[in-house]
């Protein structure tokens, strides 16, 4: 017996449970909910479910087909792994934020219309901001603000696009757009999606915020935000040539920065830009083979990138720093963490027998077969850069080179190792048994990864990249520097907006104070004299009681005015959800 149960319900329900139970008990529920979600997705029938009428719109929350299933499949598995990894955390808010974030991801994947997509999209954006803030460090607060501002911008693009689209076509449906007939509003929607997919030059929020997120928050964020964006781009904008070019540029841009960055998690964040580039390129080329490549790579990427963020996060958790300049020689003391990291590193680099090898090469071969040799060459260059920076440079400077600085290491909870073990096993399993993944893909796969030539070509390419590192390893020594990226420009624009906005406000303010000083005060004094007489004569007795009441209400209201954006944001979310629910029930 199979039925459609929306996994978002499981996660949202679990968030409610975690909210009210003591956290010692409550933390058992997220991994259980995620396991149930795996079961739901595996047994899910294809079709259209959960259609409802809301404010005169027909919404469809459950579009289940091969494309949404492959993403839901890996989302559910990664949710299980992520919640096992986060099991030791006693901060209730972190569990709730992660649960709501995953609710948003599942809602977006199954949404068949733009309003539904938009609501879940924004839910993701708000709750992921909390995953940054909840690290509770000054740098995280600032990075979280920037992250939220930028995602609001992307969300507004999406909103503007979908409203204009409705005005022009009268339809809310979220379906594929043909590149030949794409309108202005379609491009607005695409840009909104591209913000979340970290397409350059809209990507700088990612390497800015992810390294500042909590150890476990970054694991969740690395899996869901960019890959939901890949999914919606696949759904809506497959075959847009511009995406093919931008995707290839992303692959190169990411590895370029990863080569010079110092913070391990920032290196990995730039590699998200690079790896998502392969997917965006596959979407842009838009043949059956590259679309398969994009899906397969998203699947494999979620697993190995999660493992990379988990092992780098464990380093940060144990050693208290994620900077390569402060780490070194940790292989002796953290051999298991090193093993997990290396499994993920060879997977992302595309070493035969591991998951990246069977997914990345589909897109590259597909690009070449679709007569885009330059895009294929670009992606091969990025493959070299990937192995150079994540496969060799990072582990060399964190685990092998120089003396152990002898820092005190915090003990690593067992659940972290279990999560990394599951992840590592899956990276290897998919690598040796690619049919498991290929059977999930939306198109028939004719690609055979394990031919003598493919294996040899990958081995030669990676082996000689190693030689390149050996030649350059002195030059590649990490440095404690900040590297400018496009967020420099975002900040300049932000400062300009503030400056422009301030000028008229300043002028009005000066003018108003002057007017008030001359005209207002005298008038007020006269009125005051009059009302004071009236007050004494008539009102005193009546009003005293109500004044106390007002004072009390004022004090309660003042307590909600904390002046902290995170409080306002969570209140707004709760109020918003309540209002939506009320409209729905009444």
């Amino acid at each position: 017996m199979t039925a459609f149960i929306h996994p978002a319900i499981l996660f949202a329900g679990c968030a409610l449970i975690v909210l009210f139970l003591p956290v010692r008990i409550g933390r058992w529920f997220p991994p259980i909910a995620a396991s149930l979600a795996v079961y739901c997705v595996v047994t899910m029938p294809e079709g259209s479910f959960a259609t409802l009428n809301y404010l005169g719109m027909t919404l469809n929350l459950g579009r289940v087909d091969a494309l949404s299933l492959v993403f839901a499949h890996v989302f559910a598995i990664q949710a299980v792994i992520g919640f096992i990894f986060a099991f030791h955390i006693t901060d209730r808010a972190q569990h709730v934020a992660a649960l709501m974030y995953i609710t948003g991801a599942f809602g977006s994947v199954f949404a068949a219309d733009y309003p539904t997509l938009f609501i879940f999209w924004e839910l993701m954006s708000v709750s992921s901001t909390f995953l940054v803030w909840l690290r509770r460090a000054p740098a995280s607060t600032k990075a979280g603000f920037r992250y939220f501002l930028f995602h609001t911008l992307g969300g507004l693009m999406l909103l503007a696009g979908l409203l204009l689209r409705f005005k022009a076509t009268g339809s809310w449906a979220f379906d594929a757009v043909s590149p030949a007939s794409a309108q202005f509003y379609d491009y607005l929607i695409m840009i909104g999606f591209c913000v979340n997919a970290a397409v350059i030059p809209l990507h700088a929020w990612l390497p800015d915020a992810y390294p500042e997120a909590t150890v476990t928050g970054a694991v969740f964020m690395s899996a869901f935000t960019t890959k939901t964006a890949v999914y919606v781009l696949l759904r809506g904008f497959s075959g847009f040539e511009i995406l093919g070019v931008m995707g290839t540029l992303m692959t190169l841009y990411g590895v370029f920065y990863a080569t010079i960055e110092n913070d391990t998690r920032r290196i990995l964040a730039y590699h998200i830009v690079s790896q998502v580039g392969y997917m965006v390129a596959g979407i842009g080329i838009g043949t059956a083979m590259t679309v398969n490549g994009a899906c397969a790579h998203a699947y494999a990427h979620i697993l190995y990138k999660g493992l990379l963020f988990m092992s780098a996060g464990t380093l940060l958790y144990a050693a208290g720093t994620s900077k390569l300049t402060e780490l070194g020689g940790l292989f002796q003391r953290l051999p298991l963490v090193c093993l997990w990291y290396m499994i993920a590193a060879v997977s992302i680099s595309g070493v035969p027998l591991f998951s990246g090898f069977i997914s990345k090469t589909i897109t590259i071969a597909g690009a070449a077969e679709a007569h885009h040799p330059w895009l294929a060459i670009g992606m091969e260059i990025a493959a070299v850069g990937t192995f150079l920076s994540v496969g060799i440079k990072l582990p060399y400077f964190a685990f092998f080179s120089k003396q152990d600085p002898g820092m005190k290491l915090a003990p690593i909870p067992l659940n972290m190792h279990i999560a990394m073990g599951i992840s590592g096993f899956l990276c290897f399993f998919i690598g040796i048994y690619p049919q498991f993944l290929y059977n999930l893909l939306p198109n028939v796969v004719e690609y055979v990864p394990y031919t003598p030539w493919h294996v040899l070509q990958s081995s030669i390419l990676l082996g000689f990249t190693g030689l390149g590192f050996y030649i350059m390893h002195k030059k590649l020594k990490p440095e404690a520097k900040l590297n400018l990226d496009f967020d420099y420009i975002y900040r300049l624009v932000g400062r300009m907006v503030v400056a422009v906005a301030r000028r008229p406000i300043e002028v009005i303010d000066i003018w108003w104070s002057e007017f008030y000083r001359i005209g207002g005060l005298k008038g007020l004094l006269k009125t005051a004299a009059g009302s004071a007489w009236f007050d004494k004569a008539a009102i005193d007795g009546v009003v005293d009681g109500s004044a106390y009441t007002v004072q009390k209400i004022g004090r309660i209201a003042a307590m909600t005015q904390t002046g902290r954006l995170q409080d306002y944001l969570s209140t707004a979310l709760v109020v918003g959800l309540t209002v939506f629910a009320l409209i729905w029930f009444l």
């Binding site: 260059i381 030689l467 390149g468 900040l482 900040r491």
Partner: protein, 83 residues
């Protein structure tokens, strides 16, 4: 432990690396792509040269950029804000 030690010895590792790399290039003479994506792929050793050249160039270019116009002090943005 000494058994393990010889494998982490630098000169041993270097020899091993060169042996593996040369074996792969020799194999490349015999195994060539059945459907080459571009003409150059048919030349044995093309991907070997590609790998080394790209790795070295990428390291030089990226580090060069970091040392000239991209790299700033860690408190670069904080200083800007104070102004």
């Amino acid at each position: 432990m000494s058994f393990f030690k010889q494998f982490t010895d630098a000169s041993f590792l270097k020899k091993a690396m060169y042996t593996v790399l040369s074996v792969m290039v020799v194999l490349n003479v015999m195994i060539l792509p059945p459907h080459p994506h571009f003409g150059a792929e048919k030349i044995p050793g093309f991907w070997a040269v590609f790998g080394v050249v790209v790795a070295v160039l990428l390291a030089r270019l990226a580090k060069g950029a970091a040392h000239t116009f991209l790299g700033k002090d860690l408190d670069f943005y904080d200083k800007k804000n104070e102004k």
